[in-house]
């Protein structure tokens, strides 16, 4: 059990960037971001035993993280109290937040992503992370041609 926890911790640590970027792109509010990160980690842990090795570990993380972020809804105070016994966030970077806010281009890009619709956000995040069209299709569950066409339309918009 301890070994499993250790491997999971290392896995989350290695891919914390994906989780952080997804939560940033789906939640403008910092409190919501904390909640969505927490929910992503809970979902990763509860699905950890059912990981299918035929997929890359990053595909698995993207799927769970995006699914959780897309279906995340602002919670009421009561539920918030139940889900967040600790006020601190799981994945954070004060320095990065400050720098990202200070860079007007990155701030503009974040603003643009936040305005996109849920599925479009997923596609653009995967595209910017350099994920191949084949893998994007696998993660999102659309055909490879459809993924390519939609990305082309988004780029030319």
């Amino acid at each position: 059990m301890k070994n499993k926890e250790k491997i999971f911790l290392e896995l989350v640590d290695k891919h914390k960037g994906i989780i952080y970027k997804i939560s940033n792109s789906y939640c403008a509010d910092s409190e919501d971001r904390k909640d969505v990160i927490q929910e992503i980690i809970i979902q990763l842990w509860s699905s950890y035993d059912s990981y299918d090795p035929k997929f890359k570990i990053s595909t698995w993380i993207y799927r769970i993280s995006l699914n959780t972020a897309i279906s995340f809804y602002r919670k009421n105070k009561l539920r918030k109290a139940k889900t967040s016994p600790l006020s601190s966030t799981i994945v954070s970077s004060k320095e990065a937040e400050k720098e990202l806010c200070e860079d007007p281009n990155i701030a503009k890009l974040q603003e643009f992503i936040l305005e996109l619709r849920e599925i479009e956000k997923a596609l653009i995040l995967l595209y910017l992370d350099g994920i191949s069209q084949k893998e994007i299709a696998e993660i999102v569950g659309i055909s490879q041609t459809n993924a390519g066409t939609k990305m082309y339309k988004k780029n030319t918009a």
Binding site: Y20, Q38, R63, N67, S71, I90
Partner: protein
């Protein structure tokens, strides 16, 4: 901004994150010990709670139907019988939802999972709409056959008027409590933002997924 600049910008963000991002291991350990709740579980709990209330309530309605039949009260049998039928449909709906929740796997493709969640939320909302239809039936349950026979016009007329009025209100609510009428004041009366937002969002996600299906 062209693609190359966009990638360079994204990459610079990645680098900054890579250098400074910190993981709160203590909190992750809390999760691995099961001390924090999960989202899918939170979808299941309200359904189970609703079933816990709805099943004994429906059994009570069936008991009234049985008593009404024994006492020869046709309106009691008809009114409570129809309410029990609507409640049975709601119970079946909720049981089916619990089955659907168990089918949802966060590890599946985004379009599949989001479609399942969105359909579940919209369907839950439609079941709530169905519950509104029992409103006029409550005016039938209390009609006494003996009084109706002795005063068919006055007693019968008043009860008919109440039944028609409640039927109109139920129909009006059923029509207005529609996903397409999200800006209606009726919604704001029945649903607060926290309850309504997920349903609106779900219907929007369903529309987006349809675009990708085509």
């Amino acid at each position: 901004m062209n693609d190359q600049k966009l990638f360079a910008l994204w990459e610079s963000q990645n680098q900054k994150l890579e250098e400074t991002l910190k993981l709160n291991k203590k909190l992750v350990r809390e999760i691995t010990k099961g001390q924090l709740r999960d989202t899918i579980g939170s979808l299941r709990s309200p359904k189970l709670f609703a079933l816990l209330i709805a099943i004994p309530y429906t059994l009570l309605l069936c008991f009234f139907v049985f008593i009404g039949k024994q006492a020869g009260a046709p309106f009691v049998v008809f009114g409570f019988g129809l309410i029990a039928l609507i409640m049975t449909a709601l119970i079946i709906g909720y049981l089916y939802h619990i089955y659907l929740i168990n089918q949802i796997q966060g590890t599946d493709e985004i379009s599949k999972v989001q479609k399942q969640i969105a359909e579940l939320k919209v369907s839950s909302f439609n079941l709530t709409r169905l519950a509104v239809l029992q409103l006029p039936l409550w005016s039938i349950c209390w009609i006494s056959l003996d009084v109706l026979k002795s005063s068919p016009f006055l007693y019968g007329g008043v009860n008919l008027l109440i039944f028609l009025l409640l039927s109109y209100i139920a129909y009006w609510l059923y029509q207005r409590l529609n996903v397409q009428n999200s800006n209606s004041k009726v919604y704001k009366f029945f649903y607060s933002g926290n309850e309504w937002d997920p349903i609106i969002k779900s219907s929007h996600i369903l529309e987006q997924i349809k675009e990708y299906d085509s």
